[in-house]
C-alpha cells in the first residue's frame, strides 16, 4: 500500500512538474505542450487474484502534429516570400509613382519647354528653360537608375544576411540531430524539448527558404532545399555561400557547397525566394524598361535635333549623350544611368529646318509648297548640306505634273499633281519610284517630305534651298521645334517583351509617356498582386497556426485546471501514505 502511495505520489509529482513546465514555457517560441501519460503498474498476483500495484508514468508525450507542422513551414515559406517580394516591389512602386521622381512629369516639363521654344524660337530665356528641363529629365533618369541599382544592392545585402542565417540554422539543426540521436539511444523516452528546439530551428529556416524534411529512424532529421539539395544530413551540413552572377558580377547568387555551384534558379520560398523573384520580376524588368526608354528617347530626339539648324546656322548635333552607337561600334549604349544633356549653349538648340522655300515671283496660281519633314536617318546626313543644290518644282499644266529639277537636272523626276484631287497630298521625295511619279536619278535624292496645295498655273515654280547656304538668317523658323514637340505624342517606341526584356518586332506602338505608364502599371500590378497574395498566405498561415496551436499550444486555464487536478491527486496520494502509516501502526500496536 505504501508502494502504491509512493507510485501515486511520484507519478503525480511528474504530472505536476510537466504542468509547471507547460506553464513556465507558455511564451517559449516553438514549445509544444507536454502531457504525462500514466498507466497502471503490473498487478501483483496474490491468492489467485491480481491486485493493483499503483500507477507509473508510461511516457511524457509531446503534443505534436507532424502534418500541421509541415503545413506551417510551407505557409511560412510562401508568406515570407511574398512579404519580402511585396516590401521591395512597394519600394519600386513608390519610386516610380512619386511626383518628384516620376519620368512622366519630367517628360511633360521638357516638352512644354519645347513648345515654348517653338512659340518664340529666338527667345534665349525660352531656350535656356528647355535646356534646364532636358537636364532635369536626364537627371531623373539617372536618379531612377541609381535608386533601382541601390535596390539591387539591398537585395545582395539581404541575400548575404539570409545565407549567413541559413548556415547558422543548419549547423544548429545538425548539432541538435547529434544530441537527439545520442539522447534517444538506449532509452524509450523522447527528448521532447530538444525536438522542440530542432523543430523551431527548421521553422526559422523555412522563413528563409522552402525546406523539406525527412525523418530518419535514429531520430535525426535530414533537411533539403531547392529541388533536393541536402542542407543537413544527420550531423553534417552543407553550407551555402554568395557567388557573383557569371554575366553580371554586381548581382549576387546563391552558391551551394564548397564549389559554390549557383542554385538560385532552384530555390523557392522564404525571404531568399522573395529576394530572387522580386529582382527577376520587378527590379530587372523596371531597369530594362527605363533603359529602353532612355535609349529610345535619346535616339529619337537626337535624330530629330540633328535635322535642324542652330541659331548660328550650324547643324544641330546630339541633344542627349551618349549617342546610340552604330553597330559594330563598341561605344557605350545610352541607358538610364549614363544619359546626360549634350548641349550647354541655348543657341545650339536646333529649332529651324535647314530648308527654305521660295515661291516663284511670277507665279499666278494659288499653289503652295510646304516642307513637312526632313529625314536625317542617313548616317552621312548633315543639316548644313541637306540640299546640295537648288531643288526646283515647275508645274506643267498640260501633263498635270511638277517637273522637279535637282542640281540643274530636270529631265527625269516628275510628281503627278492634279489640283482637283491631289491638293494637300504629302509626297516623300525618297519614295517617288511608285508610278505615276518618277524618282530621282541615281542615289541623289533630297531627304524631304513635302505637301503640295492649291491650284498651280502653268510654269508656276517653287525652289528649295538650304537655309544655311550663303549665311543663315531664318532664326525665326520653328519647324524643327514643332517636330521635336510632336515627339511627345508620336508613337516612337516598340513594346518590350515582358519575359525576355527585348523589344518585340513590328511598328512602334508607344510614345515615351505610354512606355512609362506601362512600366508603372506593370510594377503596380505585380506589387498589388504580391500584396493580395501575401494577405492570402498570411490568412492561411494564421489558420494553420491556430490548428497547430490548438494541438501544441499551452492554454493557461487548462494548465490551471490540471494543476488543481494533480494537486488533489497528490493530496489524495499523500492520504494513502498516511492511511498506510495508520494501518501499519495499528498492526504494530496490535502486537
Amino acid at each position: 500500500m505504501l508502494n502504491i502511495g509512493t507510485s501515486a505520489l511520484l507519478t503525480t509529482q511528474g504530472a505536476l512538474s510537466t504542468t509547471s513546465h507547460n506553464i513556465s514555457n507558455v511564451n517559449t517560441d516553438g514549445y509544444n505542450r507536454q502531457r504525462v501519460e500514466q498507466g497502471t503498474r503490473i498487478p501483483d498476483f496474490e491468492g489467485g487474484h491480481y491486485i493493483g500495484s499503483g500507477v507509473s508514468i508510461t511516457s511524457i508525450e509531446r503534443m505534436f502534429d507532424n502534418f500541421l507542422s509541415e503545413q506551417v513551414r510551407t505557409f511560412t515559406s510562401q508568406e515570407q516570400q511574398l512579404d519580402t517580394f511585396s516590401t521591395f516591389a512597394r519600394q519600386v512602386d513608390d519610386l516610380l509613382g512619386s511626383p518628384e521622381l516620376s519620368l512622366s512629369s519630367g517628360l511633360q516639363g521638357f516638352f512644354d519647354a519645347v513648345q515654348d521654344v517653338a512659340d518664340d524660337p529666338t527667345s534665349i530665356p525660352a531656350r535656356q528653360v528647355m535646356l534646364t528641363e532636358a537636364d532635369t529629365l536626364a537627371q531623373r533618369f539617372n536618379t531612377l537608375d541609381t535608386q533601382l541599382d541601390s535596390y539591387n544592392q539591398q537585395v545582395n545585402l539581404n541575400l548575404d544576411t539570409a545565407v549567413k542565417e541559413v548556415n547558422l540554422l543548419s549547423k544548429g539543426i545538425a548539432e541538435l540531430n547529434q544530441v537527439i540521436v545520442e539522447a534517444s539511444a538506449g532509452s524509450n523516452g523522447t527528448p521532447n524539448d530538444l525536438l522542440d528546439q530542432r523543430d523551431q530551428l527548421i521553422n526559422e529556416l523555412s522563413a528563409y527558404v522552402s525546406v523539406s524534411v525527412i525523418q530518419q529512424d535514429n531520430g535525426a532529421q535530414n533537411v533539403f532545399i531547392g529541388n533536393g539539395q541536402a542542407l543537413v544530413v544527420g550531423q553534417s551540413t552543407v553550407s551555402l555561400s554568395i557567388v557573383p552572377n557569371a554575366t553580371d558580377t554586381s548581382r549576387s547568387e546563391i552558391g551551394y557547397g564548397p564549389g559554390g555551384i549557383n542554385i538560385s534558379a532552384q530555390l523557392t520560398g522564404g525571404s531568399i525566394g522573395g529576394l530572387l523573384t522580386v529582382r527577376q520580376e520587378v527590379i530587372d524588368p523596371a531597369r530594362a524598361e527605363i533603359d529602353a526608354l532612355a535609349a529610345g528617347m535619346v535616339s529619337t530626339i537626337n535624330a530629330q535635333h540633328a535635322v535642324g539648324l542652330t541659331l548660328s546656322g550650324n547643324a544641330g548635333g546630339n541633344f542627349f549623350e551618349p549617342q546610340v552607337p552604330v553597330p559594330p561600334a563598341t561605344a557605350p549604349v545610352p541607358d538610364a544611368g549614363n544619359i546626360r544633356l549634350a548641349l550647354t549653349d541655348p543657341r545650339d538648340i536646333a529649332v529651324a529646318f535647314p530648308i527654305s522655300t521660295t515661291t516663284g515671283a511670277t507665279n499666278t496660281g494659288t499653289a503652295l509648297l510646304e516642307v513637312n519633314a526632313v529625314d536625317g536617318s542617313d548616317p552621312s546626313f548633315n543639316a548644313t548640306s541637306a540640299l546640295v543644290s537648288t531643288l526646283t518644282f515647275t508645274y506643267d499644266s498640260a501633263n498635270k505634273e511638277y517637273i522637279v529639277g535637282y542640281d540643274g537636272d530636270t529631265t527625269t523626276t516628275r510628281i503627278k499633281y492634279d489640283p482637283a484631287t491631289d491638293s494637300g497630298k504629302v509626297f516623300d521625295l525618297s519614295a517617288l519610284s511608285v508610278p505615276p511619279h518618277t524618282d530621282f536619278p541615281g542615289a541623289n535624292t533630297p531627304p524631304l517630305t513635302i505637301t503640295l496645295n492649291g491650284v498651280p498655273a502653268d510654269t508656276d515654280d517653287f525652289s528649295l534651298t538650304n537655309s544655311a547656304t550663303g549665311g543663315f538668317a531664318a532664326v525665326g523658323d520653328n519647324r524643327n521645334a514643332l517636330a521635336l514637340a510632336e515627339l511627345q505624342v508620336t508613337k516612337t517606341l516598340t513594346a518590350l517583351d515582358p519575359v525576355t526584356g527585348l523589344p518585340v518586332g513590328g511598328p512602334p506602338t508607344q510614345s515615351f509617356g505610354d512606355s512609362y505608364g506601362i512600366l508603372v502599371a506593370n510594377v503596380a500590378t505585380r506589387t498589388h498582386q504580391a500584396d493580395v497574395g501575401q494577405r492570402t498566405q498570411q490568412g492561411l498561415l494564421d489558420q494553420t497556426n491556430l490548428r497547430y496551436e490548438s494541438v501544441s499550444g499551452v492554454n493557461l486555464d487548462e494548465e490551471a485546471a490540471n494543476l488543481i487536478k494533480f494537486q488533489q491527486a497528490y493530496q489524495a496520494a499523500s492520504q494513502i501514505i498516511t492511511v498506510s502509516n495508520t494501518v501499519f501502526n495499528s498492526l504494530i500496536n496490535a502486537m
Partner: protein, 402 residues
C-alpha cells in the same frame, strides 16, 4: 477547439496592429485628399491618372500657345489696321494732288505729308515684337524686312505655326512680301510702227478708273479712207475709229465715248503729218512692287509737278495701285481675323477638354471624403473595441481564482 493562450494574445495583437495600419492609411488619405497613395493601390487607376495628367497638361500647353498666338496676331492686326488707315489717307492725298487746280507748291506740300506717311508705313512693316523679332520678315526674324523705301524685301516666305490643339497648327505671322507688296500696274503708250518722217504722236493724258488692259490697245493710222482715221482695236473685237487730219493737232478723245466697251481713257493726238500705218500700242505691264516704292515714286512725281498720265512712271495708275495695296493689307487682316477666330474656337474646345479631364482626374484620383470619414470613424471604433476587448480578455484567467 482548444486555443492556446499565446495564440489568443498574438491574434489580438495582430488584429490591433492591422487595424492601426488601415487607420493610418485612411488618415493619410484624408489628409492628402488622394484616393490612390501608391500606384499599387489601384494599378489601373494610377495609369489612368498618369495619362490624364499628361493629356491635361498638354491641353494646358495648347491654351498657353493659343494665348501667345493671339498676342502675336493681335499685334500684327493692330499694325495692319494702322497701315490701312495710313493708306486711306495716302489715297485721299493722291486724289487731292491729282486735281488739276493744284499748283506745284500745293503738290509739294501734299508730297511732304505723303512722304511722312510713307515713313510711318515703313516703320509698321519693320515692327518688332516683345522679343525684338521683326514681325513681317518671315523666318528671318532678325533681318529688317525693308531697310529703305525703295529697298527690296529682306525677309523670307516663312510662316511660323503654333500648335493650339491636337493636330491644329495656326499661322502666327505673315511674310512682309505678302502684305506690303502687291500687283503694280503701269499703263504706257508706245509707238510701234511709223512712216518716214512722221511726227505723229498719241499720248495718254487721263486715266479714270481701273485701267488694267488684258490685251494691248492698238491705234493704226489709215489713210485709205476719207477722211483718214486712227483705227482703234483692243484685240477682242471692240473697235472704234478716230478721224484725224493735220488740222486736228492736239485733239483730245475719251475712248469710252466712242465705244463703251473700251476703257475710260483720255488720249491726246498730235502731229501735223501722220503717215499711213503709223501705229501706237497702249499696254499695261504688271509687276510686284512694295507699296513704299509705289508711294515714293508718286510723291516724287507730285513734288516735280509731273502727275499727268503721260509722265512716267505712269502716275495715272497710282490710285489703282494704292487700292490694290490696300486690298492686300485688308485681305491679310481678314486672314488674321479668321485665325483669331480659329484660335478662339480651339480655345473653347481645349477649355472644354481641360474641364472634363480635370473632372475625370478628380473622380479617379480624389478621395470621396464622406466615404473616407465614415470609414475612418468605423476603423476608430473597431480599433477601440479591439483594445478594450483585449484588456478584458487578458484579465480572464483561472489563476485569478487559485
Amino acid at each position: 477547439m482548444r486555443v492556446s493562450t499565446s495564440y489568443i494574445f498574438d491574434q489580438n495583437l495582430t488584429a490591433m496592429l492591422n487595424q492601426q495600419t488601415e487607420l493610418a492609411k485612411t488618415q493619410l488619405q484624408v489628409s492628402t485628399g488622394k484616393r490612390i497613395l501608391n500606384p499599387s493601390d489601384d494599378p489601373a487607376g494610377s495609369v489612368q491618372i498618369l495619362n490624364l495628367q499628361r493629356e491635361f497638361s498638354v491641353t494646358e500647353q495648347y491654351l498657353t500657345n493659343a494665348d501667345k498666338a493671339e498676342n502675336k496676331q493681335t499685334l500684327e492686326e493692330g499694325s495692319l489696321q494702322s497701315a490701312t488707315d495710313i493708306l486711306q489717307r495716302v489715297r485721299e492725298l493722291a486724289v487731292q494732288g491729282l486735281n488739276d487746280t493744284n499748283t506745284q507748291t500745293d503738290r509739294q506740300a501734299i508730297a511732304a505729308e505723303m512722304n511722312q506717311l510713307n515713313e510711318q508705313l515703313l516703320a509698321i512693316a519693320n515692327t518688332r515684337d516683345s522679343n525684338g523679332d521683326y514681325v513681317f520678315s518671315g523666318f528671318k526674324s532678325n533681318s529688317q524686312p525693308y531697310e529703305t523705301l525703295n529697298g527690296d524685301y529682306q525677309g523670307d516666305e516663312g510662316q511660323r505655326n503654333m500648335k493650339v490643339g491636337a493636330g491644329v497648327l495656326i499661322e502666327t505671322n505673315d511674310a512682309g512680301n505678302t502684305v506690303f507688296e502687291s500687283k503694280h500696274i503701269s499703263t504706257e503708250m508706245s509707238k510701234t510702227a511709223t512712216g518716214v518722217g512722221s511726227d505723229s504722236n498719241i499720248s495718254l493724258i487721263r486715266i479714270d478708273g481701273a485701267t488694267e488692259l488684258s490685251t494691248p490697245l492698238t491705234f493704226t493710222y489709215d489713210t485709205s479712207v476719207n477722211p483718214a482715221v486712227y483705227n482703234v482695236s483692243d484685240g477682242n473685237g471692240n473697235t472704234a475709229t478716230i478721224p484725224y487730219s493735220s488740222t486736228d493737232n492736239g485733239l483730245n478723245v475719251d475712248l469710252s465715248t466712242l465705244n463703251p466697251a473700251l476703257p475710260k481713257l483720255t488720249i491726246e493726238l498730235t502731229g501735223v503729218s501722220p503717215i499711213n500705218a503709223d501705229q501706237f500700242t497702249l499696254q499695261t505691264t504688271t509687276s510686284n512692287q512694295s507699296m513704299f516704292k509705289t508711294i515714293d515714286q508718286f510723291a516724287k512725281a507730285l513734288e516735280a509737278n509731273q502727275v499727268s498720265a503721260s509722265n512716267g512712271p505712269n502716275n495715272g495708275d497710282f490710285l489703282t495701285n494704292i487700292s490694290s495695296s490696300m486690298n492686300t493689307v485688308v485681305d491679310t487682316q481678314a486672314k488674321i481675323g479668321s485665325r483669331l477666330n480659329a484660335i478662339d474656337i480651339q480655345r473653347e474646345i481645349n477649355d472644354g477638354i481641360s474641364f472634363n479631364m480635370e473632372k475625370t482626374l478628380s473622380e479617379v484620383q480624389d478621395l470621396d471624403y464622406a466615404e473616407a470619414i465614415s470609414r475612418l470613424t468605423l476603423q476608430m471604433t473597431g480599433l477601440q473595441a479591439a483594445q478594450q476587448s483585449f484588456a478584458k480578455v487578458q484579465g480572464l484567467s483561472l489563476f485569478n481564482y487559485l
